[in-house]
Amino acid sequence: MVKRIILLGDSFTFGHGCSDKVHYYDPVTKQHVGGKMSPDFETKPSDYCWGSLIKKQFPNIEVMNLSKPGHCFLGMARDLINLSQRINLNSDDLILLNGTFIDRTEIAHPCDPDSYVSWAIGPASPMEMVTNEPEYINAKQMYVKYLYSDAVMYNQFLTSFMGIYSICNLYDTKFAYSLPKNVRLMGKLLDKFFNLKFPYIFEYDFSGNNDDTFNRTCYMPDLHCNNLGHEIYLEKVVLPFLSNKGFL
């Protein structure tokens, strides 16, 4: 049995969409719904996300949820590196990498070039962190139009993924992961990691029989999972997986 579970992830693992983390853009009303519900709204994971639910069910296991909304793979890797410099990672630890979408990267912060922010490359989202600096916006648009390459982003995903696994190996920690359906390890890498994978929460069939009506009750309008989704995901996916692997 592991003594500590460390979660790496993005908004889905953070619990964005749970009742204490509601904030989305409604395309129908063109209004933002919810918002900063507490001072630690953007820094402390939801009390109702599956990571917090593990903590409640297994008080003897320490759960460290390092996930952040909008996070990319590289940011998750850096979180683990930074953590490894603060605490002694060891064989009693389990690292659960809950990946994200492949078109996310990091860029310099518009107001502080020494800092950085996650950036989802793709259609501009109304929720995306924006700045009024036209040069900054123009630089992003130019990057997407002329310098962006899917292959580069895949390489960034792959190196971050394998780098995280490497850090786990070096500290002898246990490792498992989940990835969105369209993010795949390719070729011969698959074999080695096949048994370490569990289903990703986004697009999970909560009903068990592809019942769309029921599945919709587990999502918020912005497609993040709500309290019910997290509860079902914990019971049907996370706990059986951890148990089968001997982690619990």
Binding site: Q85, A108, A139, Y143, Y146, L147, V152, M162, G163
Partner: protein, 255 residues
């Protein structure tokens, strides 16, 4: 016959040796020599990897380093090779500078090219025919989006990832970096601490080798480096004898 795979950039390719001269002459405002690159042209016959092949005839030394390679490119070269070849005994992973990035080539996003923001100030790059929009995109990236820390982490991840891929196939792995990760036993950047875990597998990068043994940088550069800062054939030979060959022999248990 077992293979020793060598990956890297121009330093590993042997640019700067007498059969691989190519540099930009600021006075003449033109390139001198001929542009050589793998796979069209093999690495210099004077580079340390070629010397390794001559000294270890029972191994097949494959040097797929190429000038200008990015860290992602070196990682991809490594993965592609080890996934398609058997009987590899050792990988020598020669990392490059952290600010070498991969970008879409001009007009064809399906082809990715290495590029360093430091090249942008280089007269050679400025004189290279490239559309204004492409140059503007690069300049915008440098000015607004680039962060050294992000690039350092990307570089570190590529090294750690290569280590994982290679060692998971029971292939021995050694690596080096041209970056000064340790400065008087203190990590130059906090992020480099994560490389400490594989520091025991590190050898000195040829461009950082102290040929003088007395930190006489003037001598190092005047005698052992070419005028474009690459290492010349004399430097490669000394580095090979004193650093590389003993390290490889020790790693492969060769008497």
């Amino acid at each position: 016959m077992s293979t020793i795979l060598v990956v890297g950039d121009s330093y590993t390719y042997g640019q700067g040796c007498k059969d691989r001269i190519y540099y930009y002459d600021k006075e003449k405002k033109s390139h001198i020599g001929s542009y050589f690159s793998y796979p069209l042209y093999p690495a210099s016959q004077y580079c340390w990897a070629s010397l390794l092949q001559k000294n270890l005839p029972n191994y097949n030394v494959v040097n797929i380093a190429s000038p200008g390679n990015s860290q992602f490119g070196i990682f991809k070269d490594t993965v592609d090779y080890v996934n398609t070849h058997d009987d590899i005994a050792l990988v020598l992973f020669n990392a490059t500078f952290f600010n070498r990035v991969s970008i879409a080539s001009c007009g064809n996003p399906d082809i990715i090219n290495p590029w360093s923001p430091t090249w942008f100030d280089n007269e050679a790059e400025l004189n290279t025919a490239q559309p204004k929009y492409y140059a503007d995109a690069k300049q915008g990236y440098i000015k607004y989006l680039m962060s050294d820390e992000i690039l350092q982490y990307q570089s570190i991840m590529a090294t750690l990832a290569a280590h994982t891929v290679v060692t998971s196939k029971n292939i021995k792995f050694l690596w080096c970096t041209p970056e000064t990760i340790l400065n008087h036993s203190v990590f130059e950047y906090e992020s480099y601490k994560s490389l400490m875990s594989i520091n025991h597998l590190r050898y000195i990068h040829v461009c950082r080798y102290d040929f003088s043994k007395t930190m006489d940088f003037e001598l190092n550069f005047s005698k052992y480096h070419f005028i474009d800062n690459h290492v010349n054939e004399l430097g490669h030979a000394m580095f090979f004898e004193e650093e590389l060959l003993p390290t490889v022999k020790r790693t492969l248990n060769i008497q």
